[in-house]
Symmetry: C2
Subunit: 285 residues, 2 copies
DNA sequence: TCTTCTTACGCTCGGCGTAAGTATC
DNA sequence: GATACTTACGCCGAGCGTAAGAAGA
């Protein structure tokens, strides 16, 4: 189970071609073939069907393992080299789209910051592999409960802020005038699943015993104004941190009452941040 | 970052000796030396001090990564081979000590079961590496919230039961007569930390903002009667699922009121369990 | 001086590329 | 027959063991 073989395997599976993978990895097609053969012999099971090139059941399982495995490997290398490496000028901050509140923006140093917005699930990976010094992730959680982040590496996390979440209604919706709504009443409403912009629906579905909260529309963009426009147009409801939805035209934000969930932002970093990173972490703390 | 090198590194670090590690791994001392040298050159930083053999700062970081990495590697191999392997006779169940309630015991098939009690954190690993077909873990969680398990591999989890938790008081304790207690009132009480028998204190400390719940005594055994005896002798309080503490002499179990936490048991397995394992999962579901 | 890690050196085996073989479309 | 994976084979380098060297207790 050499990582090289694993890397080759995922490339072949992704590209559905030995020769394409060879091109991408800088090997000959023959070498790729031998890699796969070695893996299959090692594990004692065929991993790919040839012609067409498709993972077998065993290959599917291996694929599920391979990505986090290779990620951890990169994370380990980054973590070790980080200690020896000279601290670069500048500071890169990886953040999920709705994690950047006013508080964070105010705490940023005046110059030398790169802000990299990535999908929620990729923030820990970015920090672990050293792509960013600091990460900011947001998500839904019970009050003062930590977020459930994928553990790609031993990272330190750190609550930055919590604020109530609200449901985004179009103006004129029968519930739009309420002071608060209960989530249970909305399980069967039309919802917009906007995993990169709003708060993720699967979390609500899980909290509701796996039922309800089926998306009527999926929005894969990252623009909050687009999302509010979709809600205003009646395509469905969305869940947002209250502050993110205020002031938009054609929509109303109604705070969520019943299940006590909050929008929580966490700061994540590896080891002991130094220099500008350390100051920012301190300012956020 | 060959896994072999990593394995050698952890062995050397654990044994604090190149030659001991060589013996254990079936290499010559020279090969071990070369392994470490290769790792250090690859990562560009010294990982161990020699004489005495101790991990450097970089080595410490690598050690933190190495164990989960090697575990995941084993898990991947087990997961893939599991598909091809012939289903063995018998069924091995890995369980944490307080996960085995009456419901589970009743659901066990009449013969061919091996029950392996391991530490809470090792249950997912046992299932992932194929040491056990099914795992049963328990822990504290908010009602209907899943447990926070280390993700060694893509495993399926599955709530089995939830029951209230209670604080174990010695008879005559001023609070022992109450109908319910609030955890916040007990932050500064004397506690017994019995991570393998009772419910883990760190969870409570985290819920309390990192304060309080400092253990007065640590019990590393696995015997519930021993724990109740320690409580009865006034060494401290302990947190248990209510049913586990009932009927013991010299102690009273008072249900926990305020923070809504329950004792939750989850069933964990890999892939789609077949045969006896499938039946048991069904019976627990 | 003894123990323990490092370095030197030779051997073997693993792994890659070239090229020929084979199977599927 | 063209395309795409497999197998054969030779070469180079990686990695192990033996053995000598160096450094600390």
């Amino acid at each position: 189970m050499d990582p090289h073989l694993l890397r080759t395997f995922v490339a072949v599976a992704r590209l559905a071609s030995f020769s394409e993978a060879a091109r991408e990895l800088g090997y000959t097609q023959s070498a790729v073939s031998q890699h796969i053969a070695a893996l299959e012999q090692d594990l004692g099971a065929p991993l790919l069907t040839r012609r067409p090139v498709t993972p077998t059941a065993a290959g599917e399982r291996l694929l599920e393992h391979a990505a986090p495995l290779l990620l951890r490997l990169d994370a380990a290398r980054a973590d070790v080299t980080r200690i020896a490496a000279a601290p670069a000028y500048g500071l890169t901050l990886a953040a999920s789209p709705t994690a950047l509140g006013a508080r964070v923006l105010a705490a940023l140093p005046p110059a030398g910051v790169t802000l990299r917005v990535v999908a929620r699930a990729d923030v820990p990976a970015a920090v672990a592999t050293g792509t960013a010094e600091i990460g900011l992730v947001d998500g839904l959680a019970a009050p003062s409960d930590p977020l459930r982040l994928p553990d790609v590496a031993p990272l330190t996390t750190h609550g930055v802020s919590e604020e109530p979440v609200g449901v985004l209604f179009p103006d004129g919706h029968p519930l739009a005038g309420r002071d608060a709504v209960r989530l249970a009443d909305l399980a069967d409403a039309r919802w917009i699943d906007a995993p990169d912009t709003a708060l993720p629906l699967p979390h609500l579905r899980a909290a509701n015993g796996g039922h309800g909260f089926r998306p009527a529309l999926r929005y894969e963009g990252v623009d909050v104004r687009m999302l509010t426009a979709l809600v205003a147009a009646g395509h469905g409801l969305a869940l947002l941190p209250c502050s993110a939805g205020e002031g938009a035209a054609g929509v109303r934000v109604v705070p969520l009452g019943a299940p006590r969930v909050v929008h929580r932002v966490e700061c994540v970093y590896a080891g002991v941040p130094a220099g500008a990173a350390g100051e920012l972490v301190g300012a956020l703390g």
